[in-house]
Amino acid sequence: MRRSTREILGNLIPQALSLSIAVGIWQGLVYFEVYRFGYVPSVPQVVAAAVDYIPSSRFLHDAWSSTYRVLTAWLLALALGVPLGLMIGWKLTVRDVVFPSIELLRPIPPIAWIPAAIVFFPHVEASVIFICFIGAFFPIVLNTATGARQIEETYFRAARCCGASERLIFRQVVLRGAMPYIVIGAAVGMGVCWMAVVAAEMIAGERGLGYMIWEAYSLAQYPLIIVGMFVIGALGAAMSRLIRGLGRSLVPWQRN
């Protein structure tokens, strides 16, 4: 449904206004060195750093390293998490066997895995991707399991009435029925992936946006830190929106 330009404008103006006020406050606090804002980079410094960094090849290299790690981990988490989640949601025995272990490992945040990953993984790529994988895996498994479990028994009975085999029921009823929850899990997983990749790269990433931020901090180029923060925020938001769009096309049958 096309939104009339007036409505879009009506929406944009207050947003632009509010953001410009926020930026104004930020610049004021830094300029008048309120409390410790003197140590925070000012708006012009950040803009200068951005103008210098964004068009550079270094930015493409950093952005791609982080995105590559996040995507690889996210796809791996989907490839392993969705089938396992569906089986947990569908079959009671699988749930009783697998679920306790997952519940045991789930509360450990991906960041806590970083020391183990740094030491025990031979390559830094593998260790960062593993940490992102852990971040995305649990939300995906748990949401998928919820999705499979909420499918009403009626649909299983209808499928069995039609003579469908277990494998066909898995594909046509369990997978498609749980799809809305899989999409939710994927979106949440992507969010946690970005959080994990930043932490992993800051501590031992050797490249990527998280590493760039920590290096900027180490070399006292503070404005670049803030540029890095907004860049990661934008990339993370863009990829989450991409997933939601993908999700809507995967679940056309649900209007809400």
Binding site: A158, C161, C162, G163, Q172, G177
Partner: protein, 278 residues
């Protein structure tokens, strides 16, 4: 329509005991015996909780019986310890709707034959499209169930049921959730299908009017534990039309049925009260 009166499905002294946590075994069905004749519209009517859905689930293979046996075309379908598995020969139309919400209308209808690998996809699509056209549902092929009206969903589910040419169609209070107007429309839809081609229907309801209007034979169940109280033959002419509703024969049948049902409805109410108080 002088078809031979062969019994396709015979339910012999079927009993069912439920093991519920805490309470001792609850007897749901007690020595039920019903014969379903081929190409006949058999209706089971009874107060809520009399076990009619349990009986349907046993026939469909979703539940198991404790005593007695069920024969389909003479061969044992279900007996204690050996319950039947669901199959396309006993297609079920579910009370709260069995259409897959994530499949478009055409896909839902084709699901049966495709699931059994009976025919290639193109052929199944053609057959389904043709069947839907014949019953006037041709223009909703690409709709998802959620964007259909409840009446349309009911009709589509019936079409999906007959698509597999089941030996017997089991219908579990399918029109219960419909408003009066839509119910009438879908009842006519079902009767038209029943009249145009030979089908054996095993229909459950708690609505007397609907029972008489649709049925060739009505079996009245007692309140829990469900027993067959009375079998009433409905000799109304087919095709049935709503004008029959106030014909003398219809009213006689209604009185006969009301007497049988009312007694059981009171007992069911008292039973419900006692259980709630426990």
């Amino acid at each position: 329509m002088g078809c031979t009166l062969t019994t396709i499905l015979s339910i012999r002294n079927v009993s069912k005991t439920y093991r519920v946590r805490g309470q001792e075994g609850v007897l749901a069905l007690d020595q039920c015996s019903v014969d379903v004749v081929q190409n006949e519209f058999s209706v089971i009517v009874g107060p809520s909780g009399c076990g009619k859905t349990t009986l349907l689930n046993i026939i469909a293979g979703f539940d198991e019986l404790s005593e007695g046996e069920i024969l389909l075309n003479g061969s044992v379908l279900a007996s204690p310890g050996r319950n039947s598995s669901p199959g396309p020969d006993r297609m079920v139309v579910f009370q709260h709707g069995g259409l897959f919400p994530w499949m478009r209308a055409l896909e839902n209808v084709c699901f049966g034959p495709l699931a059994r690998g009976q025919m290639p996809y193109a052929e199944a699509r053609e057959k389904a499209r043709d069947l839907m056209a014949r019953v006037g549902l041709q223009d909703i092929e690409d709709l998802y169930p959620e964007s259909m009206s409840s009446g349309m969903r009911r009709r589509l589910e019936i079409v999906r049921a007959i698509m597999g040419q089941p030996q017997i169609m089991l219908m579990d209070e399918p029109f219960r959730a419909l408003d009066a107007l839509t119910k009438g429309v879908v009842q006519d839809f079902l009767l038209k299908i029943f009249d145009t081609a030979p089908h054996t229907i095993f229909f459950i309801t708690h609505d007397l009017i609907e029972a008489i209007f649709l049925a060739d034979k009505v079996c009245v169940m007692t309140s829990r534990p469900g027993r067959v109280k009375k079998m009433i033959r409905v000799a109304l002419p087919r095709p049935r039309s709503i004008k029959l509703l106030n014909s003398p024969e219809f009213l006689r049948l209604k009185d006969e049925l009301t007497d049988a049902i009312h007694e059981e409805a009171l007992k069911a109410f008292e039973l419900g009260e006692r259980e709630a108080a426990r």
